[in-house]
Amino acid sequence: MIFKTIDKKDFNKFLEILIENNSFFAPQKIAKDKNNKPIYDLRLVNDFKEIDFNYDILKYPPRRFFLPYREAISSFEIKNSSWQQNINYETKVPRILLGLHPCDINSLNKLDKVLMLGDYPSPYYTIRRKNTFIIGMDCDPKPFCFCRSVGTHTVQHGCDMFLIDIGDRYFIEIFSNVAFDFLKKVTTKDITKKDDDEYKRIRRLKAEKFTAKIDVTDLTKILDMEFQSDVWKEWGDKCLGCGSCARVCPTCYCYGIEEKIDLKFQQAEKLKILHACTLIDFAEVAGGFNFRPERHIRLKYRYYHKHRGFVEAYEESLCVGCGRCGEACLAGITVPEVISSIRE
């Protein structure tokens, strides 16, 4: 690992260079909630002044840049007696995402395992992942963050560079040679003993700020034992079956396929649409049979995929502890509460 520091004004210069030549997404204020608290998310920026470095969290996960909610994976055109298929894997321009927190970077690492490094890699996902340059940023744990419990509060890989704010400058962890080469365009400094100490001090402070947590000790086994537990029914009575949790989840990748035919019957598209396991029509099959007609069972399987099935397959949880699902859930179903109710 290569460490450097960069003065903030030099970093701004660095951003200007990147913004000019790339499609650049960074945190911006997008709305205010009923208490006048600003809400932030990634948006296209044309000038570094548009970037809001005071953002707390990104409202929606960056998953959409790699795994869109809906995409045409193939299109067909009928020409006379023949037909032609068109598939487009390409990304238009290299993309840069600034401001991803460790949970979001780790969510991409988990998606990589399924969609890029597994037995059936997705060319659609892979090309976007390879063509996106990611600048991660350190964060302040919020009351709903439990990433530390699932080991996603630090970044080992998955981004090109990672920034930690140490006052008037950033401490940079450089992960890729692309980032290393880019940084040659501006002035960076080698780290000093003072920087090391500051890094360690900030790390200590951050660790103390976590309040939410889940206990993952032997969780797969406990979930096995509690498969028939009445607790699921209680959560199911609250669940609205609206799928908001899956929409804001940085790691949900389940999808359905729909065929869309144009009104002239000359063209068609195969659409891949991300689905959600809590929806009533998730497990409905041809003929109308529904494998999971009950709300509490659908909710239960959501937890089993994240905290049991994925752990058995990949030796890590599919949940990154970002807490977005709990924040988005009108019924107030949060991961820490569900997991602790199962453990009791």
């Binding site: 997008i30 709305a31 909630d33 009923k34 809400i39 998310d41 409202k59 929606y60 959409r64 909610y69 809906r70 009575d237 609250k238 669940c239 609205l240 079956g241 609206c242 799928g243 908001s244 929409r247 804001v248 035919i261 009104l263 002239k264 019957f265 991300l274 959600a276 929806l279 009533i280 029509d281 409905e284 709300r295 988005a328 009108l330 019924a331």
Partner: protein, 250 residues
């Protein structure tokens, strides 16, 4: 016309308006760039807004509006006898819609006086949805109906394939558009209970979902009411939302 070697079915379709604003039919008529393609899928034999000729030989009858007068009951029953498939077209036809608010009043004579004043007209005491009068084979929800959904449904008919409604709530589509939840903005919204398929048009434009498409399948109404109360909305505000189209069970 064929698609993938399968001959398309081109049914004769007739549109009939009952008590309504005719806004649902207008959604078809004002869909200018696709209207010609649409009418190539079905042979329209009766459609007041786009066609002068009338023909009473049809396979599919699209019924728009709710049933509020005696003559409407007779007319609807005659249409049912002729049509192979009868479609409730829009929220008024499917649930009764706005018109059905009339049924909430105890003193119907007061309502008639308030609305029609000194120009009384013959009207039933109770407004009915189409399925309270005749058997309905298919429903197309929405106030007004969603053009692209109507197209998809008519296309399914042409292909002889089953059309599958979305059964989940509007929230799912709303979040796809990366909207900020209206509850977070301090507004009441029927999105968590209402059937998706509208593209979450209202919440995407900052307006609460008013539930025009009726309930999603197995909506969690009970707990959603608790959530609405917890978010500080009054019984009155909640009732207004639930009762507007008579689409949600009491």
């Amino acid at each position: 016309m064929q698609y993938l070697g399968v001959e398309l079915i081109k049914p004769k379709a007739a549109f009939f308006d009952f008590s309504c604003c005719e806004g649902c039919q207008l959604q078809i008529a004002n869909n200018e760039n696709k209207l010609l393609d649409f009418i190539s899928l079905v042979e329209v034999v009766n459609f007041r807004e786009i066609l002068t000729e009338r023909n009473n030989d049809y396979d599919i009858a699209f019924i728009e509006g709710s049933i509020t007068r005696k003559d409407e009951i007779d007319r609807l029953k005659k249409i049912r006898e002729k049509a192979k498939i009868l479609v409730a077209f829009g929220t008024c036809a499917s649930f009764g819609g706005i018109n059905k608010l009339k049924n909430k009043f105890k003193d119907i004579e007061w309502v008639k006086k308030e609305v029609y004043g000194n120009c009384p007209i013959e009207t039933n005491d109770k407004v009915m949805a189409v399925n309270e009068v005749v058997k309905v084979d298919f429903y197309i929800y929405g106030c007004p109906v969603n053009k692209s959904e109507v197209e998809a449904i008519v296309q399914s008919i042409a292909l002889g394939r089953e059309f599958r409604y979305l059964k989940h709530p509007v929230c799912f589509r709303c979040k796809e558009k990366q909207n900020i939840c209206l509850y977070e903005m301090g507004k009441i919204c029927m999105g968590p209970l209402t059937r998706a398929g509208c593209g979450a048009r209202c919440p995407s434009n900052g307006n609460s979902c008013i539930g025009c498409r009726g309930p999603a399948e197995e909506p969690n109404i009970e707990f959603m009411k608790t959530i609405m109360i917890k978010n500080g909305f009054t019984e009155r505000q909640i009732r207004d939302k639930f009762e507007l189209f008579s689409a949600f069970k009491e």
